[in-house]
Symmetry: C2
């Protein structure tokens, strides 16, 4: 809930305070909106970003966007980049293309690697937050002091966190900066844009002088998504381990004028002058990552003042030669020194959490940073929201660090190898063109499952039960702790198709997915009836999985949504043939047509191929049951007869509804 | 350009005045926005519609939406309905499903029949208009008097049309109605919603009394999209020929509570009590078309006061029995008497045009009315805009009536047969269940190409040259006067795919599409070079097809955009191997990467199958050339060597740029 701006020093309460409204903070705020949580999100920047910053979107992120209902907008505006090319010096030193190479993962998702300005991505998430709540980002607000009261422990009614907020919007200097940041594709825009994020910290000090009223906010939980120089991380006394490297890079977003053949294709170009990364973007833009540190060889120091768009351009021209390169339109540019750092802990007291760049920084060249940050925010967001709502035990909050820290380590490992490829010696004689490409390919392939998000590696926890039941599930591809391999299903009642990424909407509910098998067979139908009877039994009180747990107030009647996917041919089945517990009647909204699905092909949609059970590694006759967490990861898998274990899974962290 | 609301009686000038901001008026306004035309669009309703009205979207409409850049939004929100079912009484009188039947046309387009509230469709077009212009719909504005001055004839600088506008927004009574119309899914909303469109005419009279300043608008062109009771049609003295029938229908949009199995499937249900049409919609809504005239058998008259939602519900219950039917949520309802009328002429003086319901009314049951109306507006919009911009001769305006009147006739023919199916005797004994279904199917199939828009039947005119050149094009499926069969192509420079429906964007330009054939072959490459040389030759002045015609001021450099689609394998070809005239260099935006396309398959997208030449019926080696009009219909087809005929085609109606 967005509270009014106080005219004088004021104290207020909020359940969740999110510091930082970049991609990870917005993803966390998305969950507050979906669960109807009283939350605030503040950002010290007076405006959102309009150009530049991150741009790479991996397939897993796009799957999550689909579950949030915004992927169609990304797809409409973003640039696709499925294939990769590698340009290396040939025997006579001339640049040669090696590729295109299509990653095998291109077939594992309905979505492919895309590129789009961070500004637009933030717009889409913001629109979704507004659609579901009154939460608005409060910009030009700096968090200044932090106090944590350990006394109340896990008391759900306590507000142990105290933060002082200062608004800087009224400061004339700040206002000027805000208006400069308005959207512009003219080169004059870059003066403002190339202020590195860390310099914004100075703004807080400058504004101490201004007579702006403070606000004291008391919160139950805080989520710090405030970037590499995170204020929150500092307040929590969490170190940021690692180091800066000597490598300095320039980044330019331009509309290039060049005869280089692959300027509109994702590629690397290696020459004796260094390696650049070429990233085609929306609206004819191209981003280039360019090594510039060699310019400072004379004194061995990194002098930022020497790095200009012109200097970056000159380096691009040297590397791309004999191809020509120039531009008239410069949309954004920046320079950065690679720092590779990680926070050893992502949380404190189970009350304060940090996410995104605040817990991991690295070179941006793997096109993964924004994805990891958004997935951090996505991971912690629903857990905090669920606990605040009173539906879940705070024990689930510990899984945030457990799940995301290991991935941050992998990220840095990947970055170290990949970024190294760009800075090592690139003489053609060194390894040979083919060798260079091969080693780059090897690194990409080694980390691809992780990078694309096909594997999450989430370990055993209250939210992930790794012990799947039954001998019939030994070849199952539904793996607790991993995502659901996307498939397209037909709705039984309508015959229309939808990808599971959209079907399993990120609406806050757990999905109990009943793979009903071939319901034409009497024995299987009987197994399904037995399972349904278990799901809907009404005594003893609260024993039904469907009514046992709290509802999400004002959002959904049950925290556990049951979806059925059968494997009989679609024309041979009817919605009303399924047990009523699987397709309940609502007195106002009628029968739940959206709950019965079919794994059958469809003549007018090639993506709907009737191979869901096959892709999921589940027996078409016997079926199985699995649980999808609110963030689209699998929590548990079992046979029909293991259904009591599903109750056990939920009982591990969900509070029962006390018969309400 | 939207002009400020005058405080006193005022006179103003606009190039185009559009009366009526429903679907057809908005489509016409879309073109004003895209061409940058000074235009105004007024509507007598104080607010836009929020519920009810039309909802059927045929595939051709969706293809046009894709060319406008809004189809992704429709696709995200709308309900699909590809299959059709027919329920008829079986031998024992019980209802039996016959189907589902998948129309063959389902494979002819990337899009399928969809259903979505007219309110949302209007939103999407409005957003697009705003994206490209400052044009805003002026609501609560009634056109009251009309004068046409025949003196200036075709003088492009004259404003021969004078219309008096009166604003009714300030009237308290109107205000009340406006606020009632705010979005609500509560049943109470229907009191307002079921005011039939014609009753709105009374509002004008009521508001004569109010002291609201009038405005006199002088316009070059007027487009009347003001519905069945069109004021514009009346001013033009164009009759509305046809008649009302005795058949009265009720329409209800509800969230049904029913055990009828196909309530979420497009179907007809025939019983001795009549035939209803079931239309599944977005957000769990279902629309039902229900015959209600039988209730008034006693006095043989249609008494509107007797038609209530309850009466309609009772009839549905009778027809669906023994299935149960009820609802708690009624989103909208109305009742109407079928009138089947057509205007014998769609225009006067080549200055005034009428479109949509103003020129054809019929029963809504074919799900085609809004589609036809939007396509009317789409057809007249770009033609008027192009003439007003000074780029084209007014002769093209005559093609509006020629192209659309024949289709309106077909529409009424279709409706007569189809609606008749719902009102004829439905006793099981009459023809037998199978016979009923067969005759319904026959009508659907007979008109399907027309209804879905796969065939437009546009005849020979300055804009459609039916004489295609060369013996190699006898089997060509690119037929002047018809749409381009949609295919997915790969962009040569990027390798990414796009449907031609999106590629041929409705941006105001004509597309000259060069099907370059297999450019690996020397002879074919030579033919292409010769063609390109013709396209780019610079003397005598203005002889190049690329620079010969006016630009669209502030929108695009050339009125004719050249796109190349070759048939060589994508990996064996390079963007820079094509003649420069086909991929020109812009000093600011660089090379035109988006102009060279390839008909090749792609491993990660099944829709991109490398069969464009095959589907278009064009020889893969020799290729062809064709012209796509701004509204996505084919204007001319020929061989490379016929290219002078393309110039002749354009010279027939485009003005040359006088070397500007």
């Amino acid at each position: 809930m967005c509270e009014a701006c106080p005219a004088v020093d004021a104290e207020s309460h909020t359940d969740v305070l999110i510091v930082g409204a970049g991609p990870s903070g917005l993803m966390a705020a998305y969950w507050m909106a979906r669960y109807g949580i009283r939350a605030r999100i503040v950002d010290k920047r007076p405006t959102k970003v309009f150009t530049g910053h991150a741009d790479g979107l991996r397939m897993r992120t796009l799957e999550l966007f689909d579950s949030m209902g915004i992927q169609h907008r990304v797809d409409h505006e973003a640039q696709s980049a499925v294939d990769v090319n590698f340009w290396v010096p040939g025997e006579k030193g001339q640049l040669m293309r090696q590729g295109p190479i299509t990653p095998g993962q291109a077939h594992h998702s309905p979505f492919h690697h895309m590129l789009l300005s961070q500004a637009r991505i933030e717009d889409f998430i913001l629109d979704s937050i507004r659609e579901h709540s009154d939460i608005e980002v409060e910009r030009g607000v700096i968090a200044e002091s932090f106090h944590y009261d350990e006394t109340p422990g896990e008391d759900p009614n306590a507000y142990p966190i105290t933060v002082q907020l200062r608004r800087i919007l009224d400061d004339p200097q700040e206002k000027g900066q805000g208006s400069q940041a308005s959207h512009s594709t003219k080169p004059s825009g870059f003066d403002q844009s190339n202020v590195p994020p860390e310099d914004h910290n100075n703004l807080a000090e400058q504004n101490q002088k201004a007579h702006v009223p403070n606000e004291t906010v008391r919160a139950k939980y805080i989520i710090g998504c405030d970037g590499a120089h995170s204020w929150t991380r500092g307040q929590l006394n969490i170190p940021f381990e690692g180091e800066s490297t000597e490598h300095v890079w320039g980044v330019i977003d331009t509309i290039p004028i060049t005869d280089f053949p692959d300027i509109r294709r994702l590629c690397t170009v290696t020459s004796p002058h260094g390696t650049i990364l070429v990233i085609p973007r929306e609206k004819q833009l191209v981003r280039l990552y360019v090594p510039v540190q060699i310019m400072d060889e004379e004194n061995g120091r990194f002098d930022r003042s020497k790095i200009t768009p012109e200097a970056i351009k000159a380096r691009v021209q040297a590397i791309l030669a004999p191809y020509k390169f120039d531009y008239q339109i410069l949309d954004w540019w920046t320079a950065y020194q690679i720092g590779r750092r990680i926070a050893p802990s992502f949380s404190r007291w189970n009350r304060a959490f940090i996410a995104g760049d605040a817990v991991h920084t690295h070179s941006p060249k793997v096109g993964l940073g924004m994805n990891m940050s958004m997935q951090d925010g996505f991971n912690i967001g629903w857990k905090v929201a669920l606990v605040v709502s009173g539906a879940a035990d705070p024990c689930i909050l510990q899984t945030y660090h457990e799940e995301r820290h290991r991935l941050a380590e992998l990220l840095l490992e990947f970055d170290k190898l990949w970024a190294g490829m760009f800075t090592q010696e690139n003489k053609p004689a060194a390894r040979g063109a083919q060798g260079k490409t091969e080693s780059m390919m090897q690194v990409v392939e080694q980390f691809q499952d992780f990078a694309d998000g096909i594997k999450a590696f989430y370990g055993e926890s209250p939210l992930v039960c790794k012990q799947s039941g039954g001998v019939n599930l030994t070849t199952c591809n539904l793996i607790p702790g991993e995502r659901v391999p996307p498939v397209k299903l037909r709705m039984q009642a309508e015959g229309n198709n939808v990808w599971t990424t959209r079907l399993f909407e990120s609406n806050g509910q757990f999905k109990l997915v009943v793979l009903a098998g071939d319901v034409r067979e009497v024995a299987q139908k009987q197994r399904l009836e037995t399972l349904s009877a278990f799901l809907s039994r009404s005594e003893p009180p609260n024993s039904s999985l469907l009514t046992r747990y709290s509802s999400i107030r004002g959002r959904s009647k049950s925290l556990v949504d049951v979806l059925t996917v059968h494997s009989a041919p679609w024309p041979d089945t009817e919605f009303f043939h399924f047990p009523e517990a699987l397709r309940p009647l609502d007195p106002v909204f009628g029968w739940s047509y959206g709950k019965i699905w079919c794994d059958d092909s469809c003549s007018w949609d090639r993506d709907c191929d009737g191979r869901a059970y096959e892709k999921w590694g589940v027996d078409r006759k016997r079926g199985a049951v699995f649980i999808v967490r609110p963030d689209q990861y699998i929590g548990w898998v079992g046979e029909f007869e293991d259904i009591e274990k599903a109750t056990k899974y939920f009982d591990g962290f969900l509070k029962t509804s006390k018969g309400e």
